[in-house]
Every structure is written in structure tokens, then in C-alpha cells.
Amino acid sequence: MTSTMSFRWAMLAPVLTITGVAVGFPLGYALYLSLTDYRLTSRGAPNFIGLENYLFVLTDPRMWNAFSNTLAYVIVAVALQTVLGLTIALALQKQKWIRDLTRAMLLAPMFITPIAVGLTFRFLLNDQLGAIPAALRSIGISIDFFGPGNALMTLALIDVWQWTPFMVLLLLAGLESIPRQPIEAAKVDGASAWYTFRRVVLPLLTPVLTVAVLLRSLDALKVFEYVYATTRGGPGIETETIQYFTYQTGIQFFRLGEASAVAFVLLAIVMTLIVILFRRLQRSAPR
């Protein structure tokens, strides 16, 4: 029995060691940094300043601006992805003709590097050179996609283009693992397709749906590349997201202590989000 014990921990050891070095250590070090006045440019040991960075960050209107931008972005993007993803997954599930090709094609965007996606849409949506504004102008519509009031939602739509496929992938996997009997039974009982979907398929899909929304929200919270590729936070600070704000504070202004504090505030928010979603999941999961 002891040999089983040591064998299984020996098998797990590489993962634990690498995770410790690549995640655990930096995490602890970042916590330390957030309590100091460390600057990338300064020489000598950083001073311990307690919670000063946190106080500064939590009272900084720009941090809260970045926070509410990120939140609006995540809500719009993930809501649209959920609706579109579910619709497309349902359509794909029934589809038989050139099935693999269609699936591969529709899933493709999620494999593309986000910076390329951001630059592609910066180009496509550009006021003078872009194909989409040109097409819209020809039917009499004029939208400045990256202008004031529009830019953040444009970024959310870019997210929808790239990450709806991820939703489709997870929901398709979920739909294919749903047992057939309850659906057949509902059909025999004469339930309409819509009723079967609402009352049978959707409840069975809830756990997968929750995981998909959770994973997607966590990822959308980290949005950086689209901002970097298109607006760089503008117009004004309308599209400054948390990750972009942290990058600016840490890399452009060299204030690593403050940047780490922002990152930990984000982490606290993320953890809260997860706890709430997992509670929901546990309540709704059929056991």
C-alpha cells in the first residue's frame, strides 16, 4: 500500500513542482511586490509600505474606470456568445452534410492569435480603408466603430467573433453527452420541439452551460490584445481595461508595486465571481 502511495505522488510530483515554480512562487512574489514601492527603474531594495498601494489603487478613478469598462465588456461579449453559441451548437448537432468541414470552419477563429484578430478588425473597421464601413456607407449607414461611445462595444463584438466558437465547442460536447431517453420520452408524450428544448434539454445542459460561461468570463476579463491592437485605451480612457491598465502602470510607468496591487484586486473580484457561479452550479446540478 505504501508503494502505491509513493508511486502516485511520484507521478504527480512533476506537475506539482512545475506549477509551484511557474505559478506558486510568482504569485507569492507578486503579493510581496504589491506591498512595496518597487519601481523597475529604481536601484536598491524596495521599501515595504504595507497596504499603501491598495489604498491608492482603490481610490484611483482610473482603476474603477478600467474595472467598469472590463465588466461591461465581459457582460456584453459573454451574453452574446452564449445565445449565439447555443443556437449554432443546436444547428450543428442536427447537421449531417459536410459535417466535419463545417465544424472545423466554424471553430477556426478560436485558434487564431488574438493580436491578429484585433489587427484584422482594426483594418476591416477602419473609417477610410475598411471594407465594413465602406459597405455600410453604400447603404447609407455611417458608423465610426472606434469613435466615442462605440469603441468598447466594437471590442466586445471582436470578442464575440473570436470566442463564440469556444462556446459552440463546449455546448456541442455537452449536447452530445446528453442521454437520449428523456428527449425521446418527451417526443412520445407529444411535447413540441420548443417545449422539449426548454424543459428537457436546457436543464440537462445547465452544468455545461455554467462551466462554459465561467471559463469564457474568466478569459474575457483578461482582455488585452484587442485593446493593444485597436484603441490603446482610447478614445480618452473609454476602452482601458483592467489588464491594459495594469500593463501601462507596470511596463510604461514602471510602477510594479502598484500594478501588482491592481492585479490582486482583479484576482479578488475573479474569485468572488467563481464562488458565486459554483454555488449556482451546485444548486442546479442533478446529482
Binding site: 508511486f7 506549477t19 511586490l33 484584422t120 455537452g174 453527452s177 490584445e225 500593463y247 501588482s260
Partner: protein, 272 residues
């Protein structure tokens, strides 16, 4: 009843066509732009024109292929380490329930961390250890998100292997590790292949860590592409060509793994 069924199948086909066009048109348009001259780029509707290769020549001159090579190297090393450590760990978690559900989900906790938390420690350590001109910091940063995903993904594939297979091997005189390596591992080879390709695209696509941690003069592909983002009309064509260079390999790779991805996810990832 049949009329409604027909209506739904028409709507379904229409939806899939619109989705397919939404996915492909932007990419086709960028591909087209990569063959346009600066003057032709000013006319976004232009589809028929004499293609020229100037943009491609400029991109190759700017060393985008070298950046792609460096990205491939970073991704290969990251994936190699992740697959070895990840398959061992996933097996320990799947077959022996090591550490209970705490390890099963603790593995994913790393996924929750915003990259902004981890990147500054990596940066200061890179300077302190004088590793800032190497790719070691980037590889470690990529391991922080590739390894958990690969491990998580593989748990589902190991779950599907019957335990009796390994027990039989033990009876036949295999050691525990030999039973794992010679008997169980071959069973999950397709899953490992899909996980490796998926992990490769994750590393290949990352820009945030690369931007901050990779050597500035010899950077990795996503950062090199972003460098064309000066948005003078002249650079647009070159940027398009660079985008195509980054996109084509992963889209081809995704084609081969999409079926196994659905399997891997429905096997382990979304079950509780």
C-alpha cells in the same frame, strides 16, 4: 408538423451559412489585402486586381519567419514539458484519485490568475538571474497556463481507460511505471496528440507574456505582428501578410483536432 420542421431546417441551414461567411470573409479579405499595392489598399471593395508579392517580400525581410521559428521553439519546449509532466499527473489523478478532487480542480486554479499577477515577478526574476536575453522566462510563463490545461484535458482520456488493463499488466510482471508507460499510455495517445496540438496553439497565440518577457530584439511571432501596427497605409499590406503567416498553421492544426477536442471536453472537462 412537417411544415414547421422544414422551416426549422431552412433556418438552420441559413444560420450556418451566415456563420460560415462571418468567419471566413474577414480572413479572406486580409489574405486579399496582403497581395495589394498601397494604392489598391485605399479601395476596400477592390477584389479583382493584379496581385503583387511586395508585401510578402517586406514581411520576410523584416524577419517574421525567424519570429515564427522562435514562437515554434518556445511552444515546442513548453508542450514537451507539459505533455510528459501532464500525462503522468493526469494518470495519478485519474487512476489513483491522488489528492482527491482538490488536485483535480486545484490544477485549474492557475487558469484563474490574471497574467498581470504573474508577469511582474517573472520580469524581475529574469533580470535578477540575467535570463532576460533568453526565452526561459517566456517558457516558464507559458507553462503556467499550458500545463494545467493539458493535464485537465488528459484526465478525461485516462478516465476512459479500463483499470483492468493495468491490473492485467501488473499480473504479467510489469512494474507500476512500466504498466503506465507500455500499456496505459498507448491507449490515450490520440488524446495526447490533441492535447499537444491544443497546447501548442495556446503558447503560439500568447502575446501578453511575449511582449513583456521575450528579448526585445528577437521577439516571438504575435509581438512581431503587432510591430506592423504603425497604421501608416504602407504597413497595412505587410501586416496582412504577417497575419496570414500566423493564422494558417493553427487553422490547419485545428482542422485535425476538432473532433478529439469535443471528445476530450465531453470526457473530462465539463463533468463533475
Amino acid at each position: 408538423m412537417t411544415r414547421r420542421t422544414n422551416l426549422w431546417s431552412v433556418a438552420r441551414a441559413l444560420l450556418l451559412w451566415v456563420a460560415a461567411l462571418t468567419v471566413t470573409l474577414p480572413l479572406l479579405w486580409v489574405a486579399l489585402a496582403s497581395f495589394k499595392s498601397p494604392a489598391q489598399l485605399n479601395d476596400p471593395g477592390l477584389v479583382l486586381f493584379a496581385p503583387n508579392l511586395d508585401n510578402w517580400a517586406r514581411v520576410l525581410e523584416a524577419g517574421v519567419l525567424d519570429a515564427a521559428g522562435r514562437s515554434a521553439m518556445v511552444a515546442t519546449i513548453t508542450v514537451a514539458i507539459s505533455v510528459v509532466a501532464g500525462s503522468m499527473g493526469a494518470y495519478a489523478i485519474s487512476a489513483y484519485k491522488t489528492g482527491g478532487s482538490a488536485t483535480r480542480f486545484g490544477i485549474l486554479a492557475a487558469q484563474v490568475l490574471p497574467p498581470a499577477v504573474l508577469v511582474f515577478p517573472f520580469l524581475t526574476m529574469a533580470y535578477a538571474l540575467r535570463l532576460d536575453t533568453t526565452y526561459i522566462p517566456v517558457i516558464f510563463a507559458h507553462l503556467s497556463f499550458v500545463l494545467p490545461v493539458i493535464t485537465w484535458f488528459l484526465i478525461g482520456f485516462f478516465d476512459a481507460v479500463p483499470r483492468s488493463l493495468e491490473e492485467q499488466a501488473r499480473v504479467d510482471g510489469f512494474s507500476r511505471f512500466a504498466a503506465f508507460r507500455m500499456v496505459v499510455l498507448p491507449q490515450v495517445l490520440p488524446g495526447i496528440g490533441a492535447a499537444a496540438i491544443f497546447g501548442f496553439t495556446l503558447s503560439w497565440n500568447d502575446m501578453f507574456y511575449g511582449l513583456i518577457l521575450a528579448p526585445t530584439q528577437e521577439t516571438i511571432l504575435p509581438v512581431a505582428i503587432a510591430a506592423f501596427n504603425t497604421f501608416r497605409g504602407v504597413e497595412l499590406g505587410a501586416m496582412s501578410a504577417a497575419i496570414i503567416i500566423a493564422v494558417v498553421p493553427v487553422v490547419i492544426a485545428s482542422f485535425f483536432i476538432q473532433r478529439r477536442l469535443v471528445q476530450g471536453i465531453s470526457g473530462g472537462a465539463v463533468k463533475f
